[in-house]
Symmetry: C2
Subunit: 424 residues, 2 copies
């Protein structure tokens, strides 16, 4: 059922070197323009392709597809068609835009109606998120946090290697890349005295990936590790903004709440698992052996390079983190198998985020908390300023990409957010 697009295929649409969106990607998103309402799209290079228009022009008339899905505000109904249909649809798109198919390329009116320069459209949140779950699946991140806040000799809690620790997050405040983030206010506890209320002083990001559920699993059933990929439609970049001072005071005993729920940012394009097929790699060895329901076969990790760029209000920029999705100790199949092993249902549009993705090297740590080691090792910026945590005016950008068998880059486009001062 996978729809792998030939690794060397070229499109008649222009694709710059190191674009995240060659014809092998064909991710799905939603856009609008000043003239028209939200509708589904894909992208090649810097050209946004209006799928509603292509459907109206009859390019999918021979396919067994409900064409109304392309006119929806979110891609949920499209995902719910099932992978048999969505994979076939993606192959059809590759045919239409392949270099040797000049039917549309030569058709100026058709191109004018269906193709938009990326900088002329507004990309919208692509998925209507039902439930959002955040895991904690990078062993380096969990070890760093445990070392800083608990005990370096027992940094990992006893359950960590036995199950993918996770918790429920807030779905309503998930926003699309480019949405400005106001510094949250909340309770913080000074070392001495009573708690105080005010803007967070320790505002942080978390470099994460998220998978999007494309197939419903009913209440009372479980999804095995072998079945899991059939339920995962695709991936997003995910920035789990975090207010460390609010978190520290509120989180016992029931976990993070207001420290996270003010906003999370996702990339605008959902990249299918198929597009990352060439990036599969072995995961790290799991020791001790996990329980049978968490065991799996095959390569379930993905070699996707991740970067975090910080730009200050003065315009000074620096790549502050280089990490990789392949570092995950617990893979997505294990996360979904664990999530449903108690009979919990999942629905189309649910998101499961990875947790902060850190590697072994300090340069690969996926949060300011770890990069600045709790503020003890400030980051030097090119404009002479230093960062322990995020300041007002800072713009943070996540990126993620891998290379297919022909060395062609496939990625997400940027996942950005600028920090604005706290609101009254």
């Amino acid at each position: 059922m996978a729809s792998i697009i030939a690794a060397a295929l070229k499109s008649w649409l222009p694709v710059q070197q190191n674009s995240d969106f060659p014809i092998q990607n064909l991710p799905f998103g939603v856009f609008k323009t000043t003239q028209s309402e939200a509708r589904m799209a894909t992208i090649i290079g810097d050209t946004v392709i209006d799928l509603q228009q292509l459907a109206k022009l009859g390019l999918f008339d021979d396919m067994d597809l409900d064409k109304t899905v392309f006119s929806q505000r979110y891609i949920n109904d499209f995902m719910a068609l099932g992978k048999a249909k969505t994979s076939a649809f993606r192959l059809r798109l590759a045919e239409i835009f392949a270099q040797d198919n000049q039917a549309m390329a030569q058709h100026a009116e058709l191109r004018a109606r269906a193709l938009f320069p990326l900088d002329k459209v507004e990309l919208l949140l692509p998925v209507k998120v039902g439930d959002y779950t955040d895991f904690y699946s990078s062993i380096e991140h969990a070890t760093n946090v445990g070392t800083m806040f608990r005990d370096p000799d027992n940094a990992l809690l006893p359950n960590w290697r036995h199950l993918p620790v996770g918790y429920h997050g807030r779905a309503s405040s998930i926003v699309v890349s480019g949405t400005a983030i106001h510094r949250p206010k909340g309770q913080q506890k000074p070392n001495e005295g009573n708690p105080v209320f005010g803007p967070s002083k320790l505002l942080d990001f978390e470099l994460e990936m998220a998978f999007v559920i494309g197939k419903e699993n009913p209440l009372g059933k479980r999804v095995s590790t072998a079945q899991a990929e059939d339920y995962i439609f695709g991936l997003l970049l995910f920035n789990d903004w975090s207010a460390r001072d609010i978190q520290k005071w509120e989180y016992v005993p029931l976990g993070p709440f207001l420290a996270k729920s003010f906003a999370s940012t996702v990339s605008p394009w959902v990249v299918t698992l198929d597009a990352f097929e060439d990036m599969r790699v072995e995961g790290p060895e799991q020791d001790p052996e996990v329980l049978p329901y968490l065991q799996y076969e095959g390569k379930k990790n993905y070699n996707i390079e991740l970067e975090v760029n910080l730009k200050t209000a003065s315009g000074a920029e620096k790549t502050i983190c280089q990490s990789n999705f392949k570092y995950m100790y617990w893979n997505m199949a294990q996360q979904l198998a664990h999530h449903t092993v108690n009979g919990c249902n999942v629905q189309v549009g649910d998101l499961c985020a990875s947790g902060t993705i850190s590697g072994k090297e300090p340069s690969s740590y996926g949060s300011m908390l770890e990069l600045s080691w709790r503020g003890t090792r400030p980051i030097d910026m090119p404009d002479g300023s230093q960062r322990k945590f995020l300041q007002d005016g800072d713009e943070l950008s996540l990126s993620g990409y891998g290379y297919n068998a022909e060395g062609i880059r496939i990625g997400f486009g940027p996942c950005t957010g600028k920090i604005l001062p706290a609101l009254d």
Copy 2:
């Protein structure tokens, strides 16, 4: 904007002594029959009133209302009309069914089309839940749990009296009263050795109430304690089923996850805040004084009696808990003000549950964990059996009701669930 129905009003529909549904209640729900699709309803006595039919018959034609809301699968669109309209609508219902208005009472055909005996319909989950939040706002419950699992001398954690501790829960697995609950499976950690996988041995209930958001608050704004009740459409009974053995192993450091996400049960009728207007009482004194954003004026607690009934497979029944919603340390206005103080948005259909509602007396403890004091004080059942936690075949039923100024009972109807064996 409140729509208080005269405390002594009577209906031409029969209402038994101690019914939860006198004409002063008029809650909202959704039902279907073997002949027809889901649609909105209210209830008086044991008579379910089809609001779609009343609308079709023209009874609301003079009101400025979108009548399509009554044909929806959930009451969300109705709530989103706003309290000005929904309160006026409730007063209209009281007029139609008041004893001195015989227009419908005398109209056999009209009655036949719009009125259904409760036992001939299926009540459905009334609200499409977006995000579900669970608080931890009973000081007696938090103290009991802290005493059992941590330190009797420091049972409450330092943050507890300064903020209403809460966390995000799983929305997808919220089910309506009457839905059978399969015992969940999951990882448990014996005192010695490795974790094991199997059916939970420590299955519990939690007696809670939940409020339903009826008005959107956009991202970046906060709702003050004074504004909060305008955002709260009504209340539900809420059973937060919990697997204590799964919880104990998984919950550090990010909170409960699979121990709760297999199911939560709500009552089928959303009772408006207006219907409980006469039950307002002062809350407990809060010491130390809370931060300004959590301060409030007026009576924000509600005198709503709560009971839990346990019926074994043999049919033996016992009321195992008598508690009261008025015991809450943190009230709903404070919970919502806290929830939004960081700019977190709330949407129509979001649920906020109270956390387990326990009182001072052991007979008022709202969970098996507390009632049996961690299994050390088993509950004697009338059939000679004992309960530390719930057994397969047990049926649990929550009920809740208060009395208006005329001593008329207003409640929710039962919120039940039967425990079935774990699925393969």
